[in-house]
Symmetry: C2
Subunit: 338 residues, 2 copies
């Protein structure tokens, strides 16, 4: 059977779930960037009134989730599932943010691909008849991530030109059986791709091959081409990874022009001194759940591909001399069900 599986990696939803609500709660720096007027809320204080950055991130997830529920006139306990994850060890942020949610929680880890992984699985649960609606939730925080993955901020280390700036913020998207769209029509889960990149300050290079792999699989599975979509958006490849992705398409003689990257969209790279661009689970979560879905709603975009790109980076594996595997998941969002 598996009648919704087309090709090797892609599923086409039979009753494409509709986006019912979405929300984006952004940090200060993100609120000063090009998308400043697109967010539901900008938090000026990195601590959000809490004692630690992790607790601030917890509160951001709660705020985003509550706002999405309010837009639907409900509360988070009405969600059939909440698919959630974050970058902090043991997915601390999601676990604590959802302590009082009152809905079944399925914890994910997909590094920066988590938003799309969550939305893909939420869509799968709705299309499969397992939930009337389901939420996809994630976040990241510059300060909690830098401390965990790289250096304590107090150390003041020099950032390399390839380094990306972890986005502070949380995004949520709720999909359900009945709604006016936009619709999630396809989900392509990615394979893990490891081309041997070992530089933890160059995640874009580690992720680009997996983004190429998943996009190529999607185009093959659906028998479509890049030009069939209004926009193709990658998660957080940043300047370096994005250029590598374009180079990979060029090498394979694939025309692709209508493409952008959340890591390049969320910041003014020159003006905001973020080197290669934004990164972190919050990056694609914020861009998707503000500008992209706003434009889908407005009809200025009608059919887009969103790729969550994850660098499966771990300080432990880096210390053990390992390379950085990448994984990229893809969803197709359309204003029509077809």
């Amino acid at each position: 059977m598996a009648h919704k599986r087309i090709g090797g990696q892609t599923v086409r939803f039979e009753n494409p779930p509709s986006v019912l609500a979405y929300a984006a709660v952004a940090g200060k720096k993100e609120g000063e960037g090009p998308l400043s007027d697109q967010f539901d809320l900008v938090i000026e204080d990195a601590y959000y009134g809490e004692k630690t950055w992790e607790k601030a991130e917890v509160r951001m997830q709660q705020e985003a989730l509550t706002r999405a529920a309010e837009k639907m006139g409900c509360v988070p306990s009405n969600f059939g599932y909440i698919f959630a994850g974050d970058l902090i060890n043991q997915c601390l942020v999601s676990s604590f943010a959802l302590r009082d949610a009152g809905a079944p929680v399925l914890g994910l880890y997909g590094a920066c691909s988590t938003m799309v992984e969550a939305l893909g699985l939420a869509s799968l649960s709705v299309d499969g008849g397992f939930a009337e609606c389901a939420a996809a939730l994630t976040s990241s925080h510059f300060a909690s991530s830098e401390r965990q993955f790289r250096m304590p901020l107090e150390y003041g280390n020099q950032r390399t030109p390839t380094a990306q700036w972890t986005v502070t913020g949380s995004g949520v998207c709720v999909v359900g059986e009945n709604g006016p769209g936009p619709y999630i029509t396809h989900f392509t889960a990615g394979k893990i791709v490891d081309m041997g990149v070992t530089d933890a300050a160059n995640m874009g290079a580690a992720m680009a091959p997996s983004a190429f792999e998943t996009l190529t699989a999607f185009f093959m599975d659906t028998q479509t081409a890049p030009s069939d979509y209004d926009l193709i958006v990658t998660g957080d490849l940043g300047r370096v990874g994005f250029d590598l992705l374009l180079e990979l398409f060029k090498q394979h003689n694939v025309q692709i022009t209508n493409v952008n990257d959340c890591g390049l969209m969320i910041f003014d790279l020159q003006g905001q001194d973020v080197h290669a661009g934004g990164s972190g689970c919050g990056c694609s979560a914020l861009v998707l759940n503000s500008k992209l879905l706003n434009e889908m709603k407005a009809g200025t975009l009608n059919k887009i591909l969103v790729l969550g790109t994850g660098a499966l980076l771990s300080p432990v594996s880096t210390q053990q001399g390992e390379s950085i595997p990448g994984v990229s998941h893809l969803i197709c969002i359309s204003n029509t069900k077809g």
Copy 2:
């Protein structure tokens, strides 16, 4: 619609996925315990010929996955999805184990509930028509976990009587559309429950309330009672948590006698000096994918409930004075599809 949702948290599969293959690769201590003759393979060397414990755990996952595929006469790249997770930060073990798997990977984090979370989602993907077959994979390793969550082994700290022993091993279960059973008939995803336990050396107490919550939800959703099942097995509550669970049922006047815990089954608590019993993702993964499924196959068990119980413990949250939230997911396995 959501026609497969019965009650608040439980789904009943329309075409219950069949277990197609399973495998359990255990560590030395586990191989000396009561289930010694049930495992596919016992690894005598904690390093498994590798340089680090993490790499040993990676190899255990690969070995388990390959063995399950071999039993089906295929390779891991034939699996529609691999749902995988582990305890090590950034799910390092699963990411590296699946670098060359050649199948779409969906990363999970559910602490010690991961085996059941993965199997629930794998079943959902098969029943929903998204994959012909899907694998659920997880692992843990005593040495890699102790170092990360508690103390370096070299420190030789005194273990409290409530402490549990992280199981070394990896288990995998593959489910698919067509097969002779046993079948996964129901999946109940758990809510996060936090009763304020703050002792990282007493995870059983942190998890017991969530196990009670999910079991109660399942019985209510399905209108069944504990006596309708041959056996009810919790993941790794251990001696302390298991006694608390029994106490909770007693307080609520629910008769429950046909119940056991993987953490109590995998070790000889007295003879093997493991204090309150086994824990870790590998605990329920090994017990499910050896003894439990062996007995289902043999017909000595015909209908069981398996609960993955997870303590959403993080060294960071512990340092910040937080309590330990728990989450428990449940699957019902039956030799008939009904």
